[in-house]
Every structure is written in C-alpha cells, then in structure tokens.
Subunit: 314 residues, 2 copies
C-alpha cells in the first residue's frame, strides 16, 4: 500500500472561547453552535481577526500579530485585547491539538467581535485547525495570479493608518473620514473572498489588487519582490494592510545583509523582478509563477529565499 | 401610577432557521448559541440581509425586499433565495411573535450566509424583534445629521449595479472589478456602524455620506428631499444602495401626482429643500432637523408627508 499523507485522519478543530475582559477561557465543541443571533460579528461583520501559524509546536510571529490585533481593536473602538489571555488560550488550544496523534502544522485564528447587541459586551474566540492541502500545494508550486482593481479607491490621509503601521506619528492631517477603519484587519473580507472566487472561476489561483499601474496587495497576502539583494514591498498604509510576515521577513533579511525597502511599486517593477512572492502567515510564501497569464522567471535562489522567510518566522 | 408604555414587557426575539435549499423551517431559542464557528457570515462577513417592517400585523414592502434579496444573492453568487420559504418562515415567526400579549410593531431581518466552510452549504435565518425606543423617538423627533466622506470612492461602471437597480440592462461597460459586490446589501456594515458611532460620539444622530458636494446616502437609509410637489433622491447605483422604502414612496407618490425623480443631488440642494428625510424600512422616515449643525426648515406639510410615506408602505 502506498503511503498517502493526505489521508491521515486530521484532528478536529480546537476552539477556545476567550472572555475579552479577562474572564474564563473554555473549550467549545466544534460540533455545536457557538455564536448567538445578535453577535455583531454575525450581523455586521463587526470585529477583527489575526491568523497565526503553528509550526513545530510553536506559535510563529506572535509579537507582531499581537501588536496588530491591539492596533485593529483600537481603530474599531473595541476593548483592548489582553494579549496574555490570548496567548494563554492559544497554548491551551495547542495542548488539546497536539494530544491528537496526527496533529501537525496548523493555523490559529483569533477573533474579537463587538459582541452581542443585547449585552453590549465584546466576545472573543480562537480556532486551531489544520492547514488545507491547497495552501500546502500553493506554497510548493506557486500561484498563477490575476491583477485587478479593488473596485474602490481609499482616500489619502486616513486616520488609523499610522496606528497600524507604527509610522509617521503625529503627522495625521485632516481626516476626510475620521471613523474609517482602514488599517484594521476586520471581518469584512467578503469583497476579497469574492475577488478570489472570481479569480478561481477564471483559471487563476490568486489576485493582486492594483490602482492603475500601482501594486497594492494580494487578496489575503503582502506582495514582496526580489531582485539581486534587494527586497521590495508596497508601502503599507492607506489601502494596504501592514503585513506581519513581510515585517518579520524584512527585519530578519536586513540583519542578514539584504537591502529591504517599502516603496511604491509598479506592475513593471514586478515583471522586471527576479521573483515575486505573496507572503502571509499561514501560506508563508508562495511564488507568483504567472502574472495575468505572463510567465514570471523562476529564480535560481528559490531555496535560499524560502529558507530566509522560514527563518524569519523564528 | 403613571402609564409607562416603554416599560411593558416586550416579547423575546423570535428566530427561525430557514434552510436555503428548501428544507425545514424551525424555531431557534434566542437564549442558545445559533451559528457554528466556521460560518462565513461570522468569519468573513460573507452574506446578505434584508430588514422588513412588521406593522399592524403585516409585512411591509415584501415584494421589493424579496427582489433586492434575490439581486444581492445573485451578486454574491449565493444560492437563489426561495422567496416562498422566506415568506412562509416570516409568517410562522409572526404567529409566534403575536402570541405574546404585548407584541406590537417589529422588524424582521432575513440573513443568508455563504454558510459553513466544512459543509459548503449556505445557511439562513430570520429574526423578529421589537423596534428600539431610539428608532421610534427618531421617527417622531427627527435627527441631527453630520455629513462625511465615505473614506473611499467606488469606481464607476461596476457590474451588479444594473442588476440591483433593475436599470440600464445590457449597458454594462468594461468592468474594473468584475467580482465587486457593490449594489448588494451585504453583512459588511462595520464601516457604516463605525461612522454612526463617530457621529453619536460627536453629538449627531446620523450620517449622510457625501463625495465632495455630491450627496450619496445615509449610513443605513436613503436621502429624500421635498420641495413643493417635487421629491428627489440621489440616483441609486455605484456607491448608493437602491432603497426599497424610497422606491415604494416614489411609486406611490407619483401615482398621487407628486413629481418624483432620482438625480445627482448636491449639499446645496438639501439646504434649499423644504424638508429633507432619511427613509429606511424600520425607522420609515425621519426628518433631518440639522445638517452639520445648521438648522433645516420644518415644513408646514410634515403630517402630509408622513401620511404619504406610511401609505406607500401599504
């Protein structure tokens, strides 16, 4: 009989309910309903999330995810997450997860919702689950990507961007929409999901959003290009979510002598790069093999790049 | 003892689970969790909704809500709602609702979600609940409104707009974002809610979104102006959701001899109108008493206008 790694029974998701105000942490049966009818995450997509990679039994890039989770909560006026509780709950979940004989690499999603209208209290939970075979395949084989406008243009100089990127403090100019939650990683991902469905239906694996010739970001990832010893990524802020994986990569790669810079990138820049990557916490890094149908070069240092990104995640 | 209508015990919400593919309709206890951890409404805000008014025991404006529900589902690639089932479920819920001695006017929200990732099946439910005292107060006393940019600009010529508005069929030009779900009433309302919170925190009751001088829509309503026998509303489509209450009003008012037209409206137009209204299904119509702090005139035909809108809802 041939060994079929895909067919091993995978563990059921492990869910922990995390009281956002510092109460109990308790396990939720994934086969039972979890959320009440009047939770704002359900009725308005009103909440935030972070997805963390669990690799070799450890939580990757925890500090950056925690910082962005806090920044997102602040932008939405949600209670400040007690990160010690989220970390503790994650470890509790991992203990349950790894008690399964076939538990391996996993993702852990933290969700903080504005909560029930009838109580006025925020609600929170996390889910540890297996990484899909599709994501693993894309890591290894890369993705064929289409570019697309977002369908909307975010106005410049929005608040929150500085909070989320940790940059340009005190330089916040007049805000056209002072309540805008751009820069927060919110649950309102339906448009991104629609873009991915459209891409899949048209023979592509993924989408890179563009504004004219300007490269923004992937539907669920950050764009990074390599050319010689130079790494480039579109400047986060505005309509570009600051990426935790990209940040970890740039910090680590800089220390190793690579020249890393965030700046405005054009489509031409991508076509002229040695290689183009979509980086994100769970898929980690997947190479863009085709962009709008045009084959991108396979770099001769692909192994080195993968090792760099993997090391950056600790 | 003084009669205090607010203090009457109101009925608990009535929830019905509606199988989107035409299965069972069953009641859900509102005190128990309802939705599973992997429902897309929860994880991505990926679903649609309609809120209907229940008045004098009847469902208002059912046909238009049904049509928009279907159009929204089509835009998001959700299964086509079986409207007969949703209507049946609504009547079942109303029977339960009106079995309570203090049941009165109510709202009924239909939700259709892309459903559980683990099953790939859409999920649906409806909730009948009391109308908040705040909404009733705003109907009677009007609202003080601030204007604000949305914080983003939706690109012209998006698909779906024609489907949702029922206009300009076959005139769909090249789409900058062919997957865009503009025109659908989706669960991704977090930004609108953030705008309302910001308004409330700054002493306003509501928000009208603008694009420069161009009037778009309320955060949860359609803008309608009255001047003499003329009714005006911003042309729906693009970044303006077609309003079911506005549509009912314009059809009824036209038949009664009012001159109704959708066209581009400026802020100056609102300041020059006899009266400005925010119309929506549950609040019905609330007069804008102040716009960005400037008092708007109280018309001498307020009673007539209210009667007109009420009649339009059947």
């Amino acid at each position: 009989m041939v060994f079929e790694p895909d067919r091993l029974p995978v563990p059921a998701p492990v869910i922990m309910i995390v009281e956002p105000y510092g109460g109990s942490i308790r396990q939720q049966n994934p086969n039972l309903p979890m959320v009440f009818w009047d939770d704002a995450a359900l009725t308005r997509g009103d909440g935030i999330f972070e997805t963390l990679l669990i690799r070799e039994g450890r939580i990757c890039n925890l500090e950056r995810h925690g910082a962005r989770f806090k920044a997102s909560a602040a932008l939405l006026g949600l209670p400040e997450p007690i990160l010690a509780d989220w970390e503790k709950a994650t470890h509790m979940a991992l203990e349950a997860w790894f008690s399964h004989p076939h538990a391996g690499e996993a993702s852990c999603t933290w969700t903080l919702s504005r909560g029930r209208a009838s109580t006025g209290l925020a609600s929170g939970w996390l889910v540890v689950q297996p990484i899909s075979a599709e994501k693993i395949r894309q890591r290894e084989q890369g993705v064929s990507v289409m570019t697309s406008s977002r369908g909307y243009t975010v106005e410049d100089y929005l608040p929150g961007i500085d909070v989320a990127t940790g940059e340009a403090k005190g330089k916040i100019p007049k805000n056209p929409a002072p309540w805008m939650t751009v820069g927060a990683k919110t649950l309102a991902y339906a448009a991104n999901m629609a873009a991915l469905r459209y891409a899949n239906a048209n023979g592509f694996d993924d989408v890179i959003f563009t504004d004219g010739e300007r490269v923004l970001e992937g539907a669920t990832s950050t764009v990074v290009s390599f050319k010689g010893d130079k790494l480039r990524t579109p400047t986060p802020g505005g309509d570009i979510l600051p990426g935790t994986t990209q940040a970890a990569l740039f910090e680590y790669a800089s220390a190793k002598g690579w020249r890393c810079k965030a700046r405005e990138l054009s489509l031409d820049h991508l076509y002229g790069a040695d290689s183009v990557w979509l980086v994100s916490s769970v898929r980690i890094a997947t190479r863009v093999t085709k962009l709008d149908g045009q084959k991108l070069p396979k770099p001769n240092n692909e192994k080195e790049i993968r090792a760099l990104i993997n090391k950056a995640l600790g």
